[in-house]
Symmetry: C2
Subunit: 419 residues, 2 copies
């Protein structure tokens, strides 16, 4: 594992930064100028749109299209070249640093926007600890893992229109719910609104045929933090027989920075040992998980946050490459901008669980926050924040944060004048 | 119910046509000129892109954007005005017919393309006969209808990238399957490839809040025939616990013509009587189903077709308006171009069933085609064709057809040079 790549941007070399030259994540930012493509470096954002406009970068104009979608479609060679070119532009020893400095904008005060257009959104269920926990609660310990679970990454199609950028407030949803002791369903605000701590894989390269695991890995442009907000009471009543629908369509938040696969290469690691062998077309083609530390904090309105869980992406049973390969087995066309949620990432211990459903064991064992307040599920005004970073030798590659505050449900979803 | 609206386009007045002036469905066609918006009239297509370019129609340039998406976003007033304006342009008694005739192109020889950009695709499960049949086969008669089924229209998100225009060949998919008597799953071509006879509702008006049933009805631009190709063996193994995924992502075919809601107004009818009352927010707000006769024919390669089922859209338990209203309960944003499959439309009798799964009762009671051949599921080379039309007093409003031929599976999905 190589060490820190030093930059003439001094803050990119400081011990605490998530954005050293090793990282160079892709985002869309605006300040006095409109939204455009940029890469985080230290406490700054490099304006790559302007760099291409001035001829310092050359990617066929794709960096000048107000988000990363067109560039993502260029494929792995362009992705690697961009990282090389920008590393050279910002390297510590570079001559003529003054010709690059005008393209550095302060992160402070910049507004971050959706970094790409989400084509379609798929969510998986691919952490063994999570699937075991949820299966035990929903179907009992003896039926916790469905019979197919060890043979392929189970997933379902989500709703791309509900994917929002970190910082967006999330309104508590209404939905149809029915408790086990109720004789009929009710239409009411969700009382068991929850998070799912996930990593999202962003598909760069489109395809129209089944992909091998190696091909799938190469088609992934990068990764984002992802919080799949979930209404557990709506989910419990609706999910049989065709899966989650309205329980998962209020919002899914992603981090503003896409960390490119190339930046994560030093942190690759293997999926866990398997008692049940996978079919050939889903077998690992090398280490395709990543050693990324993840955590979630919960801050009640106006109060400090409590870290409620810590886990690691390496806890997954299936990699994003295996998920994407499975996604294409039937010939399903994939498009630039498809977003694949890893599924909730839970670790082996209670304190490693990636959802409040698991952390409070369905509400039966509420957490106690550092403020002394109990929590089973999200309360109005709570801010939930995901963080993630991979740590190398003397540097770290971070995702920034993925945050959202939950607003109270509207009083009447059909009153058109309510604010 | 009003009668035929006569046009100076003589073939639009003939007894057999599906495209009288009452209909005016929206499609995208190309001939010697590139793809553009048109409306079917008799044996012709009215080039509305050119009509707007020449000032005969005025919709802010939306008809000149190579498909109907931008026009659909204008909303119900524009949709009605277009129907009025074109009805006046083509009316039998119109003066200066010669100034309109140059905009009529022959249907014969024209190539039809996707009429709109599918934003996202949702498929429902909302025919009671179908849900009862499938539930009986998959879960037994006593658990046929899930407990939630009578309380809301059950649906799941499908894969928009797999929606194709009628006429597109469909390649038999590979997938993971496991028969009840097999000890382990296999990766193999689907042996139980099937159709689903559906109507698709095309959302015109975007929204970002829960819609009432009346608002949802008003947001629907029109309807298409829809065949949701389904691999039953892949589905049976994968669908628990999160719903269909690869079984439904090979292809979904739609008719090239969108019949606008306005053209179907004379054929509105009520949903069936309900023993279990619906919650207020899902109750009918008027007659929101349509009396549309539907049929499917199956033609083995090089042979004549057999009509294998006849049913009617009025057999649905939930209307598209109710489905769309339910879709938005949690605040799920809807976008122009969202496509909502009705779910398989089965009627009460065996000959009214909308899938081969039901017609052959899971393969146990094969059909006999007019050619004498048996069929349980689709065989390679079979062409499946959906047709649909609503019949008024002296005229009919038709969807044309939605057809596709099934090609044999590739020998190796991962061999890149196989044709």
């Amino acid at each position: 594992m190589s060490g820190l790549i030093r930059s003439f941007v001094a803050t990119a070399n400081s011990a605490g930064t998530q954005f050293p030259l090793n990282n160079l994540p892709c985002g869309v930012f605006s300040d006095e100028k409109p939204p455009r493509c940029g890469m985080a470096i230290g406490d700054s954002i490099l304006d790559v749109e302007a760099l291409e406009a001035w001829g310092f970068l050359q990617f066929g104009g794709t960096l000048q299209t107000s988000d990363w979608t067109a560039f993502m479609a260029l494929g792995p060679e362009a992705w690697s070249r961009l990282r090389r070119d920008v590393t050279a532009l910002l390297a510590e020893g570079r001559e003529n640093q003054d010709e690059v400095r005008p393209f550095l904008c302060p992160q402070e005060g910049a507004v971050l926007h959706m970094p790409f257009r989400v084509a379609e959104y798929t969510d998986f269920y691919a952490s063994r600890h999570h699937a075991t926990n949820v299966g035990t609660m929903f179907r009992g310990a003896e039926n916790a893992l469905p019979p197919n679970w060890m043979h392929m990454p189970i997933g379902y199609n989500g709703r791309a229109s509900s994917v929002v950028i970190s910082g967006t407030d999330v309104r508590r949803p209404w939905g149809q719910v029915k408790g086990p002791d109720e004789s009929a369903p009710r239409f009411a605000p969700s009382a068991r609104f929850d998070i799912e701590l996930e990593l999202g894989a962003v598909v760069g390269l489109a395809s129209d045929h089944p992909l091998s695991v190696a091909e799938a890995d190469a088609a992934i442009f990068g990764y984002v933090l992802l919080n799949d907000w979930s209404a557990r009471d709506i989910q419990a009543w609706e999910y049989q027989p065709l899966g989650p629908f309205q329980a998962k369509a209020t919002a899914t938040s992603i981090s503003p920075w896409i960390v490119m696969s190339g930046a994560l290469a030093p942190f690759r690691c293997d999926t866990p040992a398997r008692g049940v062998p996978l079919p050939d077309h889903l077998r690992d083609a090398g280490p395709m998980l990543f050693d990324i530390d993840l955590e979630v904090s919960l801050a009640p309105q106006g109060k400090a946050g409590t870290v409620i869980t810590r886990t690691n992406y390496s806890e997954m049973y299936y990699s994003a490459a295996q998920q994407l390969a499975h996604h294409t087995t039937c010939g399903c066309p994939m498009r630039t901008g498809d977003l694949l949620g890893s599924g909730t990432i839970s670790g082996p211990q209670k304190e490693n669980r990636g959802s409040l459903l698991e952390l409070s064991w369905g509400g039966k064992e509420p957490l106690t926050l550092d403020t002394g307040e109990p929590r089973s599920f999200i309360e109005d005004g709570d801010r939930l924040t995901l963080r993630g970073a991979a740590t190398g030798d003397g540097y770290c590659v971070g995702f920034g944060s993925c945050t959202g505050r939950v607003l109270p449900a509207v009083k009447d979803p059909y009153a058109r004048n309510e604010t």
